[in-house]
């Protein structure tokens, strides 16, 4: 009851100077809103990164062939490099923690159907590839084991390939040709669209799955072979490579790290040429989590500074108020207010200011996502070039409000009100009532 009255009185006193109170509240408002916004944005960015890594599969290990630096290659002739089929067999059969293994071969080629052309990636793989890269069949079916063993000339098209080469026809049953090899493949399936994966450290580049054609790896080996001749600037350059990638799936996530170290030592024969790299998404995921934590601490620090500034604003205005209301303090003391009563009165006023700032700040914080979307659309509309030049993380960030940030922001705002209100309040209480009464 007493508190209620004190709060009511505080609001009344603040209402005497609405503009001043509003501006003071604004300081806290901005501080609290920025705590929530910055945390939400950093969470959004790191969540996107984590999702991308997680989409590689936390229980997988990827071993990729890397083109060695040119000084290590034989200048005459063609040096074979990268992973071999023998290594694939060995990995698959000798490491007990490996559940399954997929050999992958990738070649950039031009695809053709009638008069339509499209540059894309010809991927030789096994049926498990679909599951491990989260591909979804739209029509028909993905490559089967039987097709692989029979070395069938069947292929599966990614969504964009199907759209470009077959704008008006059903691709199933049609033959897509690869002019470079005078070869053609019968379409048995079309996939749904899949988002591109971003480059995530190490040797794992960004993968755009939209212009892929998938064929059985044994078919690719038989019909195209290991030697790839590419015409570049009038010269033919060649490389010999058996497998571009081996993706291993480990039995359980707990065994990933152990398996990864076994594989790294198994790959030591490649250390001289540096033509193989091991990518462990789980490790990347853990790194990303650490980065997220650092990022959040940093963002939180920035927001804390703005709250500090808001707090100083409160202190500044309260010191002015205390001086201005010296007479009132004198009257209250004469009429029986104890020092504690005066401290409480001014503390309640600062707390009211900071709590109002806190609540409105939280409300503004909750509008973070629509506000960012709106902002993005505005920039997109008025400055499309600027937008295009921004990095992808910035363009695509979806703020995710961290639930803990709301009570934290509120608590901090209240704390700021009390901490920065304490000094002016104590100063008010320490006044000599006789002198305060004489104050004009």
């Amino acid at each position: 009851m007493l508190w209620l009255r004190t709060i009511k009185l505080g609001v009344k006193s603040l209402w005497l100077h609405p503009m001043r109170s509003l501006l003071t509240v604004l300081g806290i408002f901005i501080g609290v809103a920025s705590v929530i916004w910055l945390l939400a944005i950093s969470e959004g960015i790191s969540k996107a990164a984590q999702e991308q890594i997680a989409s590689l599969g936390a229980d997988t290990i990827m071993i990729r062939s890397v083109k060695p630096p040119s000084e290590k290659l034989n200048p005459q002739g063609v040096t074979p490099y990268g992973l071999t089929r023998a290594e694939f067999e060995r990995l698959q059969t000798t490491i007990p923690t490996v559940k399954s293994a997929i050999p992958i071969r990738e070649i950039r080629r031009q695809f053709q159907y009638k008069s339509r052309n499209l540059d894309g990636r010809l991927v030789g793989c096994t049926p498990e590839y679909m599951e491990i890269t989260s591909l979804v069949v739209d029509r028909g079916h993905f490559i089967t084991d039987a097709e692989n063993f029979r070395r069938d000339t069947n292929c599966v098209l990614a969504a964009k390939v199907a759209e470009r080469l077959f704008p008006y026809e059903d691709p199933i049953g049609k033959r897509v040709s690869i002019p470079e090899h005078s070869d053609s493949y019968t379409v048995v399936g079309v996939l749904k669209h899949r988002n591109a994966s971003a480059a995530i450290g190490g040797s794992l580049e960004a993968q755009d799955f939209s212009s892929d054609i998938y064929i059985p790896i044994k078919t690719l080996q038989q019909r195209i072979g290991d030697t790839i001749m590419t015409r570049a600037g009038g010269f033919m350059t060649g490389e010999v490579i058996e497998l571009n990638q081996i993706t291993l799936r480990v039995r359980s996530i707990g065994e990933v790290k152990q398996t990864a170290s076994v594989i790294e030592s198994a790959m030591s024969s490649h250390s001289a040429l540096e033509d193989v790299a091991v990518v462990v998404p789980l490790e990347l995921l853990e790194q990303a989590r650490t980065t997220r934590l650092m990022f959040m601490v940093f963002m939180g620090l920035v927001a804390a500074i703005s709250l500090l500034v808001g707090g100083i604003g409160i202190m500044n205005i309260m010191l002015a108020t205390v001086t201005e209301r010296t007479r009132e303090i004198g009257i209250r003391r004469a009429l029986g207010a104890r020092r504690d009563d005066i401290v409480r009165q001014f503390l309640v006023e600062t707390s009211v200011l900071s709590v109002i700032g806190g609540i409105t700040g939280i409300l503004a914080g909750l509008f973070c996502r629509p506000a960012i979307v709106l902002l993005r659309e505005l920039v997109e509309h008025y400055y499309p070039e600027t937008m295009a030049s921004l990095p992808e993380v910035v363009r695509n960030v979806t703020p995710t409000i961290v639930p803990e940030s709301i009570p934290i922001a509120f608590g901090i705002s209240l704390l700021v009100g009390i901490v920065f209100g304490l000094y002016p309040a104590i100063r008010a209480a320490q006044m000599n009532p006789i002198e305060a009464l004489r104050h004009e």
Partner: protein, 247 residues
């Protein structure tokens, strides 16, 4: 007869710019309940210092000051605040109302610091406002009232805690003669009803209305004389005449 307040050899010294000022050098007098005392004296006589002591705003250097049975000289700051809210009714020259509060809320302030906030207390404040003739201005703020009205709010406020005495410091100093007469008539009436009033003034006309005049000079008691009933009546009539005569 019980004493509202008792001053025994009261001394107060304070240091001002390195020099010790002996504001009160041993003053003694009693104020029985129901008395109406005017304290007079030129500036520098220790009048204000005595007022601060009586109002429990300051502590004496030596001597005793009793309000009822409590020795103010030995109280802590919080105890002084407590006794101010329960036992003393202040009326100031410049009214000293709180600007952001209404008439009723201003009257209620001393009760507020006793933690008394019930509807009964609120009704008491409304009754007091009516008693001083402001029953129709309960929700007005001080800035919406005239000087005389503000002083009447202050008088109502001084009575809200049933104090040992009303301590009035030049209560008519800021008022014109008509309002002065009004306020002094109100004091007369309150005193007749049994309330103790201690009034500090430098105006003879005002002092003559009291039952007793205490004069201070150089920190000492100069005189303490009773005012005859006749003199009081004359003073009251003179004030009325002055008001009714067109200027």
């Amino acid at each position: 007869m019980r004493l509202a307040c008792s001053v025994i050899d009261l001394k107060k010294e304070y240091v001002l710019k390195g020099e010790t000022v002996r504001a009160l050098r041993g003053v003694s007098f009693d104020v029985p309940e129901g008395d109406y005392v005017a304290i007079m004296g030129p500036s520098g006589s220790g009048k204000s210092t005595l007022l601060n002591m009586l109002g429990c705003l300051d502590k004496p250097t030596a001597g005793g000051l009793f309000l009822g049975d409590d020795n103010v000289a030995k109280m802590t700051d919080d105890q002084l605040a407590n006794i101010r809210s329960r036992r003393i009714g202040f009326v100031f020259q410049s009214y000293n109302l709180i600007q952001q509060l209404t008439v009723v809320e201003n009257i209620q302030v001393p009760l507020y610091y006793q933690g008394k906030l019930g509807t009964r207390e609120r009704q008491r404040c409304i009754d007091l406002a009516s008693l001083v003739g402001l029953g129709d201005r309960l929700s007005h703020r001080p800035t919406q009232l005239s000087g005389g009205q503000q002083q009447r709010v202050a008088i109502a406020r001084s009575m809200v805690n049933d104090p040992y005495f009303i301590l009035a410091d030049e209560p008519t100093g800021n008022l014109d003669s008509r309002t002065t007469a009004e306020i002094l008539t109100m004091f007369d009436k309150l005193n007749e009803e049994g309330r103790t009033i201690i009034l500090v003034t430098h105006e003879d006309d005002v002092a003559k209305r009291a039952k007793r005049i205490v004069r201070l000079r150089d920190g000492l008691l100069q005189s303490d004389v009773m005012n005859s009933e006749v003199e009081r009546k004359q003073a009251a009539e003179a004030a009325l005449v002055e008001v009714s005569t067109p200027a």
